[in-house]
Every structure is written in C-alpha cells, then in structure tokens.
C-alpha cells in the first residue's frame, strides 16, 4: 500500500522557509497533483517524498514505513518508488533496453525474467522496436517514455512525476497527459504529479492541491471542486482566465463599475463597500441586445477558432470568447467600439481588498 502521510513537514534553506508545517495525506491508488506557481515549494515537497532532500522538521511515512523525520532518513534507493523528471534524465550512454532494465539489474532479477519485464514495459509505453536505440536517437517525447518505462519497470507502488511534460511541445503534451492517466488507472498505482500547468492538473488528477508562493496549500479537492468552487481569489485566478468585475455597494444597492447599472446577481455576504464579481469567460453570454448589462466591445480580436472580446461596462472590464462558427451564425462578430449586452451565468464574490489577481499569483 502506498498511502503517503506527511505530518507537519517543514523545509528551510538557511533563513528561507520553503515549506512550513505542511500536513497532507495522499491515498493509495489516486492520482494526486501538486499545482502551484514556480517557487511555491511543490518540487521540494516531491523531492522530500523521494528522499533527495530531508525535512527540517516533521515526518513522512509511505505505507507502514517511516521514511523521514528529524532523526531518520531512508535514502531514495530504498524507498521503492519510481521518479520521472522534467529533464527526462535518461542515461545517454545506455540503450533504451539498458535504461529500462537498470532497476531490475540492481535488484539482481534473473536475466531471462529481466528481459521479459523490460520488453513488457517498453510495450506498455508504446516504444516497441526502439529498445536498441540510444537516447540521442529518440525525440523528446520518446525519451520521456523511456523515463516512464524505467520508473514503472520495478513495479513500484508509488510514482513521483516532476513536471514531466513541460519540455514537450503542446501537441505531444496533450497526448501524453492522457496516456499517463491511462497507465495510472491500468496499473492501479499511486501517482504524485507536480506541475504549474492547471490544464494538465485538471485533465489527469483525482485530487489537486493548489499551493501558493508561500508554500501553503490553499485548497485540496477534485478538479470540479477546485474549478467550480474555489475557496479564494488566488485559486480562482490560478485555474484559468479570470474576470474580476468591480462592483461597488451604495447603501443596499450594488452597482457595476463606476456607472448606474445594478449588479444582477445574488448579493455577497459582508459589509465591504468595494466588491469584485469573479467569473470565467465561459460564464459570459454576449449579445447585440436584450436583457443584461449594457457595455461596449472595446477590443475585438479574431484568433481563428474563437473571437476574443474585451468588454467595458461603465469603466469595468471583462474578457470573453465566442466560438467563431457560433459568432458567425448568430451575428456576434463584433467590431471595436460596438455596443453589446452581457449576461453572466454565475459569479463568485470576493472582497476587493483581499483580491489576488493572476499576475500576483504568478509573480
């Protein structure tokens, strides 16, 4: 069983604290993603679990075994796990076969059995007939498959993946994220995946932990939970293009931007005067006329499959997109400075003083 228990784990480098008292449980057989901006400590956390780093405080257990605390440290070679790195880390002086077979060789697996298992694993990651190649003769995507096979061949119950797709081009990345998910399901292993790319996290995870730049976990939940019910503005803006529409309270009335149009949504709970209504571009319905907030298209950009609109409503701005075919079919090809009417399906309310925009989240 590969349940991971982290208890009050801290890691500091000199004066700088990267992780501070972090507690987390990753269940057996789930695909768990650590998602956060660069420098948030997610990679450090993965390296602590792998054993490449030692916690300054707290304890880490994998299954029944205590692998690290203040006085003990099991080195990575004795933790029974597979690790895949961003840089592929396949050994350039060994063939694909030897790369994949190395863990078995160290485990002194008999030669025949070793060959069988290596070929089996190579087939599993779709590298058939490339086993004699050297890594330099493979593409980036193939090299990453070798790294995957090498991590899987010892049948570990836990796989750690550190941004394994970020060196690949967009098409390959899209293809491989689904393959990794397939493998995880098929082999029923625990996967801990580290990334800064929210799309990958949404696509492959059973649960996601969103981390902020201070190394704190802001929210843990299923992809739907995280995307549809973000606990705060940081999580909301980190998960995709975010619209933050300024709304001001005057007495008991809520107005959009600087103008006189009422905000047509359920009211927020709280006394603040300055609010922000947050929503996704996909929550926006834009029309030429009818009911809704009146604004104008400040900037219309044709991006091929979609039209991208920047809309201004009384000094407040929002972004939305319309599929090009829908826009053409429904007379929604706006030009710059044309008037429009905007409806929003649902909003999240945030107090304007506590807002953390995407820019800050990434900084």
């Amino acid at each position: 069983m590969a349940t991971i228990y982290l208890k009050n784990v801290s890691r500091r480098y000199g004066q700088r604290s990267v992780l501070d008292g972090l507690t987390l449980t990753v269940n057996h057989g789930e695909c768990f993603t650590l998602l956060g901006p660069s420098g948030c400590g997610k990679t450090v956390l993965l390296r602590l679990i792998a054993g490449f780093e030692q916690p300054t405080a707290g304890s880490i257990r994998i299954g029944d075994a205590l692998v690290a605390d203040a006085s003990a440290h099991v080195p990575p070679d004795r933790r029974d796990l597979g690790v895949v790195f961003q840089e592929y880390a396949v050994w350039p002086h060994m063939s694909v076969f030897d790369n994949v077979g190395y863990p078995l060789k160290l485990a002194k697996t008999p030669k025949e059995e070793r060959a069988d298992r290596v070929m089996e694993t190579i087939a599993l990651v779709n590298l058939h007939s490339l086993e004699k190649r050297l890594p330099s003769e493979l593409s980036g995507g193939q090299q990453q498959r070798v790294a995957l096979a090498r991590a899987l061949v010892g049948k570990p119950s836990l796989m750690l993946l550190d941004e394994p797709l970020s060196n690949l081009d967009a098409n390959l990345r899209e293809e491989m994220r689904f393959e990794i998910k397939e493998l995880q399901r098929k082999l029923n292993i625990t996967v801990m995946y580290v990334t800064h790319d929210q799309e990958i996290a949404l696509a492959i995870s059973d649960r996601i932990a969103v981390m902020d730049t201070q190394g704190r976990i802001r929210q843990i939940g299923s992809p739907e939970d995280i995307f549809e019910k973000p606990v705060d503005s940081f999580v909301f803006s980190f998960m995709g293009v975010a619209n933050f529409l300024q709304v001001r309270r005057e007495g008991n009335e809520f107005f959009v931007g600087k103008g006189g149009q009422r905000a047509p949504w359920d009211r927020p709970h709280g006394d603040s005067l300055a609010w922000v209504a947050a929503f996704r571009p996909s929550d926006v319905v834009i029309r030429r006329d009818g009911n809704g907030l009146k604004g104008r298209v400040k900037r219309a950009s044709f991006l091929g499959p979609v039209m991208d609109y920047l809309v201004e409503i009384d000094g407040a701005h929002l972004r939305t997109t319309v599929d090009t075919h829908t826009a053409v079919a429904n007379n929604l090809m706006f030009d710059d400075d044309q008037p429009c009417v905007v409806g929003v399906r649902e909003v999240h309310w945030f107090d304007a003083d506590t807002i953390q925009s995407a820019g800050e989240a990434w900084a």
Binding site: A50, G51, F52, Q54, I62, G63, D64, A65, L66, V67, S71, A72, H73, V74, P75, P76, D77, R78, R79, D80, L81, G82, V83, F85, Q86, E87, A89, V90, W91, P92, H93, Y102, P103, L106, A107, S136, A147, R150, A151, G154, L160
Partner: protein, 566 residues
C-alpha cells in the same frame, strides 16, 4: 522496504570523499604555497615586512620585477592586437581557406615556446644567427639586422606563442554572437566597417580583455623564452631570477628568501589578474549568445582578399614553419655554424641521442614515465575533487572550492620552490634529487587542467541523471560507477592528454628540481644548449616536436572519432 537508516551513514560516505579531496589539495598545492609565504614573511620567529622590502629593493630583484612587468606588458599588447585581428579575419571576412588558417593559428598552442626561442636564437642571435649572417655576408650589412637577445626579441617570441589565447577567445565570442545584433545595425543603415567599429568590437571587448589578461598571467610567470634569450644580455624576469638564485647558491638561506619573496610577488599578481579576469567576464560579458542561427555577415575584402591571404601565409611561414624547419636542420648538422649543405646534414645526431647518448635517453624515459604517472594520478584526483565541488551538497565544500581555485593561480616556478621547501626533509620526507619530487610538482602544476576538464564534464551531467539512478534503487556508489563515471569518461580522457602532452615538454618546474640522473626532455634540451651542444639540443628538440605533434594528432583523431560515435 527496509528500516530507517541513520543520517550519519549518508553524511559519512560523502565525508570521506570530501576529506580525501581536501587532503590532496592541501598536501600537493596549499602546503607548498603556505610554506613560501611563511618563509617570505616570517624570519627569526617573527612576522617581518622590513626584510621583504629590503629584498625587493635590491637592484637585481627590483630590475627583475620591472623586466617581468615590461615584457608581460609588451607581449600582452602585441598578442592582443595580432590575436584580435586574425580572429576577426577568419570569422567575419571572406578570406580564402579560412578554416585551414584558423587551424594553423592554433598550432603555436602545442609548440613549446622555449624550443621556439631556441630556433630564433639560431636564426637571429647577433653574430651566429643564420638570418643575421645572411644579411652580413651577402648584403653587406655592418651588424646584425635584429638582435634577438633583447627585450623586443623576447617579446616578439612570446607573442608568437601566446597570441592564440586571445585569438581563440575572440573567435569563440564572434562565432557565438547573435548575428541579428549586427544585422539590426545593418538594417539601421550602417555599413560593415561602421558595424565592426561601433557594434562588433565593443561587444567582444570583454573576451578580448579576458584573453589579454590570460596572456599577462602567462607572460609574467614565463620562464623558457627569457631563460634562453635573456640571460646572454643579463635580462632576467622573476622566474629566471628565482631559478638563477636557487641554482647557483645551492639552497643557501639568502637565496631561498629572495626566491620566496619573488614567488610571493608572482602569486599575488597572478591572483590579482585572475580576480580581474573574473570581474571582466562576470560583469562585462554581454548576453550576446545566438538564438536562431544564421551565418553571420561576411565583409567582402575585394582587392584586399589576396594581399591579406599572403599576409596570413607569410605570418604562418615565418612564425611556425621557419623555426620548426631550423630546429630539424640544425639537429642534422655535424657542427653548429656549418652551412646547410647535403654533406653537412645527416641523421647521425638523431640516432645518437635516441640510442647511444645516456643523458638524452634517460631524459626521454623520465619525461614519458613522469608524464604518464602525473596524468593518471591527477586525472583521478581531479574527477574526485570536481565531483565534490560540482555535485555534492556537503558542509565544508566552501573550503574545497577555495582550494580548488588555488592551482589556477600558482605559477610553475612557485610550485617548484614550494615543493623544494616542503619535500627536502624538513617535514620528515626527503625527495630532493629524486624523480619523485618532480612528480609531486607535476601533480600540483597540472591539477588545474584536470579540475577544469573534469568539472566541465560533470556540469554536463544533470543532477537528475544521478537522482534517477538513486530512485531506481542504486546506492551512491552504484550511481557513481554506473552513471557518473561512464558519462565523465570523455572529460577524464581530455584531462589525461591535457596533462600528458604538456608534461612531455615541461621546463619551468623540472629545471629547478632536476638532479644529474633525473633530467626531463625539457631540461636536457635546455642544459645541452647552455653547455654549447647546440646541435644535440636541436636534435632532441626535433624529436620532442615529433612526439608532441604525433600525440596531438592522435588525440584530435581519437576525440574526433568519439564525437562522431556519439
């Protein structure tokens, strides 16, 4: 899964490697240098600066200091101009046969400069030099055209052998430079000469300066050329004066003191130059590395194309071919001074020194065995030390990083002196007058080469390659054996040859440490020349050249093949 293992074990293995690394650097490099500083500043049990000043004020030492600075200054200026000019010529113009030229300009790197000095002595010594004689006998000149036994003679010869340091730096910078930096000047309306003057040269200035400082460093501490050409007219620089004092006074206290004070000056100026170079490179190097690669623009030389080609060929002929030919010709003469006619030339000298003459046979044997041993030992020590510096995260690494810098800033004559102080029995081990003392000095001298080659190779090995092995179940030792060592093998290979080849022609260190039976090739060539056995000296120099060039060709072939195999 196994039971938790105490942290101590993990630190322990790393600790052993760290300790060994520090021990190697301390014993071979730091200890001798410290002894020099100690001897220079510590007399009669007390710190003493007055005596140091007194030594420096002696006319001989003072003059040697001035000479070192003057010669190094002249050499640096000359080499920088020539190196930059040729680098620009082969990278930015349509000069014919550019690649061949580029290769030829690097040849002086592998030729020992003191053999060159010897050749130039044969060509341009005031009375006996062949060129001077030619002009006096056939063109009716009253005196020599050029006296090589002069400051300018010494500088000229040093420039010939040192300019590649600037050449290679500037070539590298010009080749790596993003061509769009120049193209954007062109689209702005600037012609090629304006671009060269206002964009290209300023951008590669840090590289030029860094190459120049390197030459300064080498020239200050350079022994061979000044020894061969200067002593005749009483021109000494710091290294030759150290040698002169130690050699003549057979280890007297006063001589050692002068030596250690001069050595201290060398160490301090070397450290200063290296610091300065670090500053120039660190702060001044612009981010000019290319993104997309296009061929850079070439300046059309038009009418100047062939005159400049002839200039290059003449330069190569005059500075590389001519001295080499002279060495081989003189080596074939019955007696020095005879004209080069068929009946005067034979292979007898070569046969004699290879098969019959004990001094030269010993010297060749000594150099080869010393070179091999030093190369092997230094190669392995270098891998270990570089591994700690580049890859390991252990406490105490800072000390090692500092010690690792040391070999780069300690010139040969300083090492030789330090080794004498350390290994002459004062500390329980007496290696003086044995070949072991030369071996110890070689290890210290070439540690820098090994560290450079091996850390470059190790930096190519990404941490994740090693961590991947650990995650696969490899212990630290297994990951070293299966992953790290195979991957740095090319670096070790390079280190081996970087040490073996230069050690075959080493002079600066060996000359201070040799005993009658422990001459090296360099020492034998030098002493034969001193004793007036010019033809024997030339013949041995010729054989040394053959060995060096064969070795170099072999490596180029081997490394070329291994690059292709990858």
């Amino acid at each position: 899964m196994s039971a938790p293992v105490r942290k101590k074990f993990f630190v322990g293995t790393a600790g052993i490697i760290l300790f060994l690394s520090i021990a190697v650097l301390v014993v071979f490099v730091a200890f001798p240098v410290v002894l020099i500083l100690f001897n220079a500043f510590w007399t009669k049990g007390a710190f003493n600066l007055v005596d140091v000043a007194a030594v420096l004020r002696e006319p001989d030492t003072y003059q040697a200091l001035l000479n070192s600075v003057f010669i190094a200054g002249g050499t640096t200026i000359g080499s920088t101009i020539i190196g930059t000019f040729f680098a620009w010529l082969v990278t930015r113009t349509d000069l014919p046969y550019k690649n061949f030229m580029k290769g030829m300009f690097l040849v002086p790197f592998m030729l020992p400069s003191f053999i060159g000095a010897l050749a130039w002595k044969m060509l341009l010594s005031p009375r006996a030099g062949y060129i001077n004689r030619l002009f006096m006998d056939y063109f009716g000149f009253d005196g020599p055209v050029f006296n090589i036994y002069s400051y300018y003679g010494i500088m000229a010869v040093e420039v010939m052998y040192l300019f590649p340091f600037v050449f290679i730096q500037v070539c590298g910078a010009l080749e790596r430079m993003d061509p769009t930096l120049e193209e954007s000047a062109r689209i702005s309306g600037a012609g090629l000469f304006t671009i060269t003057r206002r964009i290209t040269i300023p951008l590669v200035l840090p590289s030029i300066l860094s190459g120049a400082l390197l030459i300064m460093l080498y020239s200050m501490a350079h022994f061979g050329t000044v020894a061969v050409l200067g002593i005749e007219n009483g021109i000494f620089n710091i290294p030759t004066l150290i040698y002169e004092r130690i050699h003549q006074s057979a280890g007297s206290f006063a001589a050692i003191r002068t030596g250690t004070v001069l050595a201290t000056v060398l160490v301090v100026s070397a450290a200063f130059i290296i610091w300065l170079q670090g500053k120039v490179l660190g702060k001044g190097r612009y981010q000019i590395i290319a993104g997309k690669s296009f061929r850079p623009m070439e300046l059309k030389l038009r009418g100047l194309r062939y005159p400049l080609l002839i200039l290059c060929l003449a330069y190569i002929g005059f500075t590389i071919v001519l001295p080499t030919v002279v060495i081989f010709m003189v080596g074939g003469l019955k007696t020095y001074g005879l004209p080069f006619t068929m009946e005067n030339l034979s292979l007898d000298n070569y046969k004699f020194i290879l098969f019959d003459y004990k001094t030269t046979k010993d010297a060749i044997w000594n150099s080869v065995s010393l070179g091999l041993s030093a190369a092997v030992i230094t190669m392995f020590a270098g891998v270990m030390i570089s591994y700690v510096i580049v890859k390991m995260k252990v406490r105490g690494k800072g000390i090692l990083e500092f010690l690792g810098m040391l070999p780069f800033s300690v010139p040969g004559s300083v090492i030789a002196l330090g080794v004498i102080l350390a290994w002459s029995g004062k500390f329980g081990v007496n290696l003086y007058n044995t070949v072991w003392i030369i071996l110890v000095a070689y290890i210290a001298r070439y540690m820098a080469f090994s560290l450079k080659a091996n850390s470059a190779a190790l930096e190519q090995v990404h941490d994740s390659l090693i961590e991947a092995a650990r995650a696969c179940g490899a212990s630290m030792w297994q990951s070293l054996r299966d992953i790290v060592l195979p991957l740095v093998r090319p670096g070790m290979f390079a280190a081996f040859f970087l040490i073996f080849l230069p050690s075959l022609r080493e002079l600066t260190v060996s000359i201070m440490l040799y005993a009658p039976t422990t001459r090296t090739i360099g020492v034998a060539i030098y002493t034969l020349n001193e004793d007036g056995e010019t033809v024997m000296s030339a013949a041995l120099a010729g054989i040394a050249l053959v060995i060096i060039i064969t070795g170099q060709t072999l490596i180029t072939g081997l490394t070329g093949a291994s690059v292709k195999a990858k």
